[in-house]
């Protein structure tokens, strides 16, 4: 399929075939004609098709997204701008967002992932913030699937090369392997930036007769119809969509970043918007629509890198590293000086008008003249039918057979694709540049210092897809809670989240049911934990030949540590410290990694999250951290309690001697159950009393687990598991897989 070439040949005779190739249904086309009051020209059809694509219009998800809480005292900017903004006090703010680049990354993993990272960084610096940390949430297919190794290699090097060249540290993330992602991988990239709260730039183009300025790279034919591609499911012919994947140039983006921030020091910009999905079309439409003005573009002035580009191609190109700005009158010269200094293209390509129309001229011909209201507000909004899934039953601990040896099972889990070390990935990311990474990848949350202060920003990305597949409502709740918990574990006050909603085809009621349930679960958790959603994106149609991915609402959260001197890490620090578990235990094994990996069973409901207990346990732990009571903290998540303890032991290089499990629950249910709302903490013995008292006051159950000591994991009745052996099992899997596989 080559829409651009086909369309160019067809001139303005719009056959039903051309309309269908633009991803518009017959009904949607009729809506378009009604909104326009006439048949569209080809360029106009192209503009409508991208603006009304699922990717840009959120037509299937919009009615549900309204249910998410987006407000709070800390929120400076909620959803609707390029990124969300939260207050960090002292006149500083954090700007952050997560975005998917799933479809392109499957088709061309290196460029797909790289441009995903580039796009999300542009969203952040468009708002005037300097990006200070990147994260990513990656889902690949089964390790044994023929494509997985190639996709992992391409995605990781694409993310690394882009972020590394930009000089923005990639400080962590999460990676899953699951056969349900075999034909639809997920690449979700998150970026966090810092800005003075008084100097936030937005995208509303207010004022008439102001110059509309194009800066950055030249426009080519790459990425035409990327947004439309991201709004359809895959089939055997998807490989042919490679030309719709954009090509990234991180060096140009680095120049664009520095040039934009330099110009933002001056009082020159009315509005600024990056050219991401749907390029010049969506940036100009959104700026004009938000500002309530019209916009006229002279495409002859658009810098191009290919000859004879048509208006259609220029309006739909998704060439990377470009920005559109509306300048204050008289600032053009100063702005041009800055962009020329950074050797970037700079061109006044139009101006704002009072017509309320988008008018596009090329070679003296009006190629498009569309009322902005039609593009932005007449877009279809669907209340699609949905069918929610009945969750399965609870798996009682007694129904699940124990392993021959607890430590044998531990070693097996820690060396599995699910829990093995991700060092092979994050050592390819420059995670230290900017010299503020005070907690590197591998812990619960990464922490970057707010430059020049003692404050720290904690960042974490979380979701457990197998929980969401079993119960989208509980799974989404858990994703929010786990993110909150990870931020708490380093001592941060969780502030807000961004989300990346990855789902299958919304036209199928069961997928829409998953989406609806996930939104409701998130909304409940966000409300209970005062953890609002300030930005995000929705990626639908992640399915191939009718088989969808598990519902994957990835949550990216940030938190603030007032003084990084009081920050905690997962690493055990001292022999002789006591180990304690905070939070209630029920031995929940349904959907646990233990059942999946040791018994090859994946049934049952996921562990429920008691949000009230979650909040009490988290507030207790954070308080204890601030009071200096704890020497190490780790939340209990994938794999359960014994895995959490083992991770702390490996990180600190200290062994542990664990006490026997109390009756009546079966030991394997307590060691491997994935009950929520729990933390393992280490403390010097003289703090134990204070911790007991605080836990009693907070009504958080506490159990003494044992003590830090030796160089092995010791459980009564089993031979000790030396840390050296466990470390090999844990570190070995991923590099070995990538080397041979």
């Amino acid at each position: 399929m080559n829409i651009a070439a086909g369309a160019a040949r067809a001139a303005d005779t719009l056959t039903p075939n051309i309309i269908a190739e633009h991803g518009l249904s017959a009904d949607e086309y009729q809506l378009l004609v009604a909104a326009l009051g006439r048949e569209p020209k080809l360029t106009e059809l192209g503009i409508f098709s991208v603006m009304w694509s699922e990717h840009c219009s959120y037509k299937s998800s919009r009615v549900w997204l309204k249910k998410l809480p987006t407000e709070g005292r800390q929120v400076i900017q909620g959803p609707g701008e390029n990124a969300g903004v939260v207050d960090l006090g002292d006149g500083q703010a954090a700007v952050f967002k997560m975005e998917s680049h799933n479809h392109p990354s499957y088709i061309e993993p290196y460029q797909g992932a790289a441009t995903g990272v580039g796009g999300i960084m542009r969203d952040v610096f468009t708002m005037g913030a300097r990006p200070v940390a990147n994260m990513n949430a990656l889902r690949f297919g089964a390790p044994e699937h023929a494509k997985t190794k190639h996709l992992v290699a391409g995605v990781v090097s694409g993310i690394g090369d882009y972020g590394n060249c930009m000089g923005v540290p990639t400080v962590g993330g999460e990676t899953n392997f699951d056969p349900r992602y075999n034909d639809n991988i997920l690449v979700n990239a998150m970026c966090v930036g810092l800005v003075d709260s008084g100097r936030i730039f937005k995208s509303a183009a207010k004022g008439i007769g102001h110059s509309v300025v194009y800066v950055g790279s030249k426009t080519g034919r790459d990425g035409i119809h990327g947004a439309t591609m991201a709004s359809a499911e895959f089939d055997e012919a998807s490989e042919e969509k490679r030309p719709t994947v954009q090509v990234g140039d991180p060096f140009t983006e680095k120049l664009l970043l520095e040039a934009c921030l330099e110009l933002m020091e001056e009082d020159a910009i009315v509005a600024i918007q990056d050219m991401g999905a749907a390029g010049l079309t969506s940036s100009s439409v959104e700026m004009a629509d938000k500002g309530g003005v019209g916009i006229e573009l002279e495409l002859d002035r658009v810098p191009t890198r290919e000859e004879n580009m048509t208006a259609y191609e220029m309006m739909l190109s998704e060439s990377q590293e470009r920005m559109l700005m509306v300048l204050k009158p008289g600032s053009e010269k100063a702005a041009e000086r800055v962009f020329r200094k950074w050797e970037l293209d700079f061109s006044v390509i139009g101006y704002t008008t009072d017509t309320g129309h988008l008018v596009v001229r090329h070679r003296g011909i009006v190629e498009a003249d569309i009322p902005l209201a039609a593009l932005a507000h007449a877009a279809p909004v669907y209340e699609r039918p949905f069918a929610k899934k009945e969750p399965q039953g609870v798996v009682a601990p007694e129904e699940v057979p124990p392993p021959n040896s607890m430590l044998g099972a531990l070693e097996c889990l820690m060396g599995s694709p699910h829990l093995s070390s991700r060092r092979w990935i994050w050592e390819q990311y420059d995670h230290m540049v900017m010299t503020d990474t005070v907690q590197r990848p591998g812990g619960d949350a990464a922490v970057v210092r707010v430059h020049g202060t003692k404050k720290g920003l904690a960042i974490s990305c979380d979701v457990t897809p197998r929980y969401c597949a079993a119960d989208a409502y509980e799974g989404a709740k858990q994703a929010v809670a786990e993110c909150w918990r990870n931020l708490t574990s380093v001592g941060a006050d969780p502030l807000a989240i961004t989300d990346c909603m990855n789902f299958g085809n919304p036209e199928r009621p069961e997928i829409m049911g998953e989406f609806a349930s996930a939104v409701e679960g998130m909304a409940e958790a966000c409300t209970a934990l005062s953890f609002p959603v300030v930005s995000g994106n929705v990626s639908l149609y992640n399915e191939t030949n009718g088989v969808a991915i598990p519902p994957t609402p990835a949550i990216g959260g940030i938190g603030l540590i007032p003084d990084i001197a009081a920050m905690t890490t997962v690493a055990l620090k001292r022999q002789g410290d006591v180990l304690m578990l905070l939070g209630a235990e029920a031995g929940h094994l349904g959907q646990s990694l233990y059942m999946q990996l040791m018994l090859d069973r994946t049934h049952g409901v996921p562990p429920p999250v008691d949000l009230d207990a979650e909040r009490r346990a988290g507030d207790l732990v954070r308080g204890l951290i601030r009071d200096g009571c704890l020497s190490a903290v780790h939340d209990v998540s994938d794999g359960g309690l014994l895995v959490a303890i083992a991770e702390m032991a490996l990180a600190g290089g200290h062994g542990v001697e664990l006490d026997a499990i109390p009756a009546p629950l079966p030991p394997h249910a307590l060691w491997f159950g994935e009950d929520q709302g729990r933390y393992v903490v280490a403390a010097s013995p003289d703090q134990a009393d204070a911790i007991h008292k605080a836990a009693a006051v907070a009504k958080v159950p506490l159990r003494l687990l044992g003590k830090v000591g030796g160089d092995a994991i010791k459980i009564e009745g089993e031979p000790p598991l030396p840390l050296a052996a466990l470390r090999i099992a844990h570190e070995d899997w991923l590099p070995r897989f990538m080397a041979h596989g």
Partner: protein, 229 residues
């Protein structure tokens, strides 16, 4: 000590170098744009890490021909200490101020991690705060860091005692396992004939702050301050 940090398009450790220099000297260094042909009077010139000109052509190759580098070379030849870190080291080899070349890592991948280095000499402005043979921890973060020179050049570097740092294990043993990128003779950094120009792939500025899990790098900046005032 007055320092200047050269900023190329694509430099991205310029601020990090400035922060470490300011911590050691108490004054902010001058940041000099690549297009400038003048550098203020400086006791030290730093070529920072990053991806100057996007690493196009070859790492450091384009930067070596930028206007400011003519002045840097002239200053270096007249004895001004010049420190090239990571991409700065690549620029120094491309200008010919230091011999050899930095090739793609043996793993073909970007590597970011802490490594151990053995201090090969301490009689220079950069190293007087270290002991000879001391084992220090610096981070590396590069894709093109495999030091290569022909056998004659390597023999000359060794003979003249111009190896500054070698990759080693925690105990100071220079082993193949401790070599992260395939560098010849585990070379992590080298001096020019007079010991005034130093190029190294590891980043001293990244472990120069107690909050960043190490301060071994700070000693290099303190050595410079002590020597150059």
């Amino acid at each position: 000590m007055k320092a200047s940090v050269i900023v190329f398009p694509g430099s991205n450790c310029d601020r990090d170098a400035a922060v470490a220099l300011e911590a050691a000297t108490g004054q902010a260094p001058a940041m000099v744009w690549h297009g400038d042909s003048e550098i203020p009077a400086s006791d030290l010139i730093v070529l920072p890490g990053g991806f100057s000109y996007g690493d196009y052509l070859r790492s450091g190759a384009m930067a070596a021909h930028s206007p400011v580098m003519r002045e840097v070379v002239a200053r270096a030849r007249s004895g001004t200490p010049v420190l090239g870190i990571c991409n700065g080291f690549q620029v120094l080899t491309e200008t010919g101020l230091l011999p050899g070349v930095l090739m793609r890592n043996a793993t073909l991948k970007f590597i970011c991690k802490d490594v151990w280095l053995r201090v090969e000499r301490n009689d220079t402005a950069y190293a007087r705060r270290y002991a000879k043979g001391e084992v220090v921890k610096f981070p590396i973060a590069h894709k093109d860091g495999s030091y290569f020179a022909d056998e004659a050049a390597l023999a000359r570097l060794e003979g003249e005692g111009r190896i500054a740092f070698r990759y080693c294990d925690e105990n100071g043993e220079v082993t193949a396992d401790a070599n992260p990128n395939g560098s010849r003779r585990n070379i992590a950094g080298i001096y020019n004939e007079t010991g005034t120009v130093l190029g190294l792939m590891p980043h001293p500025e990244r472990l120069a702050d107690p909050m960043l899990s190490g301060t071994d790098g700070a000693k290099m900046f303190l050595s410079l301050v002590e020597t150059l005032h």
